[in-house]
């Protein structure tokens, strides 16, 4: 049943058949979308009517291709901006949190750590609605008391960034903590005994050691943001992110341009994955 143990042929054959089925299940929806993105038809599904690039480049009354659809391109751009800021803030605060919980001792550390990982067990919908509630409350209060109208506290671009950051930081913290656990503390002690300040030690020794994890965490936070919809949908203002825009289109006006967008996402992710894989193999670690 494992590599080193022999087993019956039927057993291996059945096992291999199951694994094949699993991978077909996994890849089927992706292949379908990719093929149908090039279908010369005005409907999102079958039948196949021939090859066409219309849903990427056309700009006629009937067909508006992906690259000619201004709204769609705008929501892609919004998503990229959102992802960048979420990744930036999450990486910053998540790394700080990792340093705090791994290297410092203080009262209430346990309860605080529990809070920091709680976004893992809070449904995204609840996180979104509670942030919407309290930001609206704060906005109303500021307006009633000081006559201030704070854009930030209404559903808007920045509120989406804040909402996604609230759980993004948790994932960054966990990824960076995992690397920090492998860190040789004597390096820090040596630097401290040579009269480096605590801040210098963190900046010159700990952070460089953490760099691969920090870069990885930045990418993960960006991807989390780019695909998030459960939290975003409560906080989004007049400029939808790509998932919110796609969701509305799937619900109310599906044209094959959805296939074209999906194809671009699948192609981009697959290329990035293969690039990362080849790079990894070259460096000799899998």
């Amino acid at each position: 049943m494992i590599r080193s143990l022999p087993c019956s042929r039927t057993y291996s054959a059945v096992y291999r058949f199951y694994i094949t089925l699993f991978y077909i299940f996994l890849i089927m929806p992706l292949i379908t979308i990719c093929v149908l993105a090039f279908n010369d038809s005005n409907f999102i599904a079958l039948p196949w009517k021939g090859f066409s690039l219309d849903w990427f480049f056309a700009n006629t009354n009937e067909r508006l291709g992906l690259f000619k659809d201004v709204d769609l391109m705008l929501s892609v751009w919004t998503s990229i901006k959102t992802g960048f800021f979420v990744a930036l803030f999450s990486t910053l605060i998540g790394t700080i949190a990792a340093l705090l919980f791994e290297e410092e001792e203080f009262r209430f550390k346990g309860p605080l750590y529990f809070l920091a990982i709680s976004p893992l067990v809070i449904p995204g919908v609840v996180l979104g609605l509670s942030i919407l509630l309290s930001s609206t409350n704060a906005g109303t209060y500021l307006e009633a008391t000081f006559g201030l109208d704070v854009e930030l506290l209404r559903p808007s671009f920045w509120l989406v960034v804040i909402g996604q950051f609230s759980f993004g930081a948790t994932y960054v913290m966990l990824l960076v903590s995992a690397r920090l656990k492998k860190f040789d503390r004597t390096l820090e002690e040596a630097a401290l005994s040579l009269r480096a300040t605590r801040l210098q030690v963190i900046w010159l020794i700990t952070v460089p050691f953490l760099r691969p994890a920090i870069i990885g965490a930045f990418v993960v936070a960006f991807l989390l943001s780019f695909s998030n919809i459960n939290t975003t949908i409560f906080l989004v203002g007049s400029d939808p992110t790509l998932p919110v825009d796609l969701y509305a289109r799937i619900k109310f006006s599906s044209t094959p341009v959805l296939n074209a967008v999906s194809f671009m996402i699948v192609a981009f992710v697959s290329l990035a994955a293969i690039f990362g894989f080849v790079n990894n193999q070259k460096n000799g670690n899998s």
Partner: protein
Amino acid sequence: MKKRSGTFYLLMVPVLLWLMLLIVIPHLDMVYRSFRFETDDWEMVFSLNNYLTFFRDQIYWLTFVKTALYSIGVTFLAFVVTFPVAFYLTKVVGKQYSSFMTLLLLIPIWIGELVTVYGWMILLRDNGVINTFLINIGIINEPIEMLFTNFSMTIGLLYMSMLFMIVPMMSALDSLDDSLIEAASDLGASKWTIFSKIIIPYTTPGIVSGGIIVFMLVIGDYVAPNILGGKSSLWFTEQIYNKFLMSFNWNEGAAFGFLLLGLSSAIVWVALKLSGQKLEKVGS
């Protein structure tokens, strides 16, 4: 207590701000709002009315119970479907294939839920790929109605969540020493004994963390039930969403949100107690 350096506060303050402003206060606010009720004279009073609505209206608590049971079911299904795959990739297939096959598993995660759910929508439609295929090879004459049912919703929920279970199970299996299995096999243990006495106990931490991640994704999901589920298969998140963005009854929405949070926390807590795990472990 020893004197703190400035650096400590430099680390402490941002983290405290994050946790207080974005986690603690919003949730307290949600609980507070859930007990507010607007009377007929537009006066806000303290009341249990929002929760009473939930229990009085059958559709709400039925959806609530259904969401809970389905989420547990899908989590279990995800384990059954993916455990053989995790085992195959770590213990059976040659090393040269396993890293590429693992990479394939990660691609749907990165693509994101919306695109994959959309893909399933195209596959399962009446004039979709599966029905067209089955009609063309002559197995059926009329398309089978698969989209907008509990079946299509389950497929969508399973697909978007199950891969998150494989990764923690694989890292648990990776650290299981093959010689334990070899020794058991040499001593004449059957496959089933090896599986239930060695493999499962050893990988329990991985199974529990994976299971909790899957469960949370499923119970808090909005897209798969909404796009693939249709009218007959309501999900509790859809009720919350409707309260907020359709009927603008935020107080009831807050109460429903709090109920969902209570439900998921209770089930996760029970799962952790039953398996003797700690939440702190789930993160790592």
